[in-house]
Assembly symmetry: C2
Homo-oligomer: 140 residues x 2
């Protein structure tokens, strides 16, 4: 087991990825299936290590697996313009911005809710009240 390759466990430790996750990436076609040893163990090479590192780093930055698939495809076409790469990154940044704005709005609402709580009984709890708006049934 000390050949010129990595077992799935070694690859996992090298990229901070759970073994199950690596197999999952293989199953969905994100990471190429490696060769096998005589005992049917997956045998990974340096290329796999690079790919998986790329995938994990991209995941850490919040890219979806679909976006990563696209990025990997582009990364392989080395003489093409990287406009498309730029576009994916910018699109992702827009999403992140939107999420941040949403969370900040939400935080403000939570703040004012919590600020109003005088911690009496539930019956006059401002938080419960704030969560119970008057909804009207819509006509058909």
């Amino acid at each position: 087991m000390t050949g010129n390759f990595l077992t799935i466990g070694e690859l996992g430790r090298g990229t901070d990825t759970k073994v199950e996750t690596i197999r999952y990436y293989e199953r969905i076609g994100l990471l190429a299936a490696p060769g096998r040893t005589a005992g049917n163990y997956r045998a990974y090479g340096a290329e796999h290590l690079k790919r998986l590192s790329f995938i994990r780093r991209s995941r850490d930055l919040g890219f979806s697996l679909d976006q990563i698939r696209a990025l990997l495809d582009l990364a392989d076409q080395r003489d093409r313009s990287c406009e498309a790469v730029d576009a994916i990154a910018r699109e992702h940044r827009v999403e992140v911005d939107r999420k941040i704005a949403d969370l900040r709005a939400l935080r403000r609402e939570l703040d004012s809710m919590i600020d109003q709580c005088r911690c009496g009984t539930v019956a006059d709890c401002r938080i419960i009240e704030a969560l119970s708006p008057q909804a009207q049934p819509q006509p058909r």
Copy 2:
């Protein structure tokens, strides 16, 4: 069909909730199962409308279904102290703060990546480069 009750569709329109979602809430025990009409249609009352509004508003504020379950339980014990309600809200605010911080860190990284892109070929794309760190295999 013009009785003193709401059909599932009407309840959905009144609370901006998809019909399937309402049935889902019932299945997981979040919204009580209503009575049925002769034709086996669900017949909702004002209580259901109030409950579902509460659930939706809480979801909008990012509470998990488990947190909402706890809030609903508390909301019913009207003479208890609302400390526990306050605690759930504060805990949720901490989570939201953490998410905001994570996203901001992430946004900074995306920014510096995107800023460095000169949009040449993929071969020297700074974005691809930034996504390809050097990982080392760990010893067993």
